[in-house]
Amino acid sequence: MKKTSFHIDRETRAGIGFLAPLLLCLIGLILVPVAGTIATSVFRDVPYLPKTFIGAANYVSLLNDPAFWRSLMFTLLFVLVSVPLETVFGLGIALVLNQVFAGRGMLRAAVLIPWAVPAAVSGRIFELIYNYSYGAANRMLALLHMEPANWLGSASGAFLGVVAADAWKTTPFAAIILLAGLSAIPEDLYRQARVDRAGTFQRFFRITLPLLRPVLIVTLLFRTVDALRVFDILYVLTGGGPGGATTSLSLFGYRYFSAGDFGYASAATVILFGIAFLLSLVYLKLGGFSREIR
């Protein structure tokens, strides 16, 4: 039942009071800094020099900076490769976990572990795994009688390495969300499909996938937004190398922030922010969120 009142009554005042701390936090600690960053992006703001307004100059420099372009390309490629990979893997794991078998509870718990590990820690673990002389990755290659690879020493090896390490850490999240979506599909639909003589694959493509669509979109949204701002694993695992090959926009921005070039760094992160914002809008539109919330 909807409630309406035409003046601000005691109830609404209490409601605003309840919301005030949240709004203060979000405004003071997130919206103000973001606005500040956007404002800073039109200034030359470096140590020892007076802060001066330079309009879009930072953005122009960025667009002429090959390092920025490489970082933008890496970020987009990373999203493009890792998000579908993690979602498909996650769906696979979710399908397995949705079956009934002995030890399912334990496996569900095991899936949660990579998710719970800090990305910085998983970065260190994978750094060890990729170690040229005694890492587990090259041990495996040796067992397959293949030459050891210099994983983090080459651009393509580092990219693969980063994608794999990120997939380890984040696929479980996709799996958990998708599993919840799977278990929300009524069992009766599958019974009916069996009665209608639909095979395993037909059931998957005609029932599971269409009904999973909203959850898939939510998973993709969360994963895309997260992959766009990838930072921790790169900072720890590759440091953005070799030769800047795995420098994400977040890392790019961070480097300039820590070097003290706040204007340039701000401009770079504003572009990242814009991309994240646009992509979220696309997903929200796809998922029909605004409708659901109402």
């Binding site: 009142s5 309840f18 979000l26 496996l107 590990v117 958990i176």
Partner: protein, 276 residues
């Protein structure tokens, strides 16, 4: 029946693959922490077990691991408690009270959680530096609270929505104020949901990296993920045994939480994402 057998093989194979995928890196970490040498995987290296790395990490003055861990636990716990309390106030107002623009507000909260942290960390650094808070607990707790709030609000909104509104009405009839209803009726009734949200907020804060990297400078406030990321040997050689020992100890609290409260965490994570 051929199809059933295929399904079984796929399930068992998938389960084994999943287990290996999830646990193998953990195995590498644990073995390296306990092995005498990091290159123990080589066939020619004899396997020798030791607890020296663990002991070093826990006792060595130079490593500061216990301080990092303490900072992490305190900062994460404080952020989680504050964030969940504020979020439950907001979630109560959003689910129970007549507020205009409730849907828009929920969407705004969701949008805020999608901001890349790097786009505010620089400015935040300056704010914190100007009030002299760099390398203190509040410098981390405040952004962590803000950062975990949207997630907490979304999860709690989905929990609170399921509590019948008749309970609130009964509370009003019994003479409660709105705050009393929240504290005396909704909190106890939604205790499992509040607990799940606390766990998630704690884990999110515990695992956070970028803010901690920017806003701390040494062991008096630095958290353990940053500590481990910056863990370098004194003599050039990377001390893998000690790093992995530290990693083991670091993930112990979060992994134990995840295993003990698996159901709650999964439920919390999926609330809001999946409509049942």
């Amino acid at each position: 029946m051929k199809e059933d057998r295929l399904g079984k093989i796929l399930t068992v194979g998938g389960a084994i693959l999943t287990a290996v995928f999830c646990l193998a890196p953990i195995g590498v970490m644990v073995l390296t922490a306990l092995a005498g040498r990091p290159d123990f995987l080589r066939p020619e290296v004899p396997l020798a077990w030791t607890v020296d790395h663990l002991r070093a990490v826990l006792t060595s003055e130079a490593i500061h691991f216990p301080e990092y861990l303490r900072n992490s636990l305190l900062v994460s716990a404080a952020s989680a408690v504050v964030a969940v309390f504020l979020a439950s106030l907001a979630a109560y107002a959003l689910t129970r009270m007549s507020l205009p623009g409730r849907g828009a507000l929920l969407l705004l909260i969701l949008a805020v959680s999608m901001f890349p942290p790097v786009s505010l960390v620089g400015y935040l650094y300056r704010i914190m530096a100007s009030i002299g808070w760099i390398n203190t607990y509040p410098a981390l707790i405040l952004p962590y609270v803000a950062w975990t709030l949207p997630l907490s609000v979304w999860i709690l909104v989905s929990y609170f929505t399921r509590i019948p509104r008749d309970l609130d009405r009964a509370g009003l009839i019994d003479g409660c104020s709105r705050l009393q209803i929240l504290l005396k009726i909704i909190f106890p009734t939604a205790a499992p949901g509040i607990f799940a949200t606390l766990l998630l907020a704690f884990i999110f804060a515990f695992n956070e990296f970028l803010f901690a990297l920017m806003l701390t400078t040494d062991y008096s406030a630095r958290t353990v993920p940053v500590g481990i990321a910056l863990f370098q040997g004194l003599h050039g050689q990377t001390p893998w045994g000690e790093i992995m020992a530290a990693a083991c100890l670091t993930i112990l609290p979060v992994v134990l939480l995840a295993l003990f409260f698996q159901r709650r965490i999964v439920q919390g994570l999926t609330r809001g994402a999946v409509k049942e």
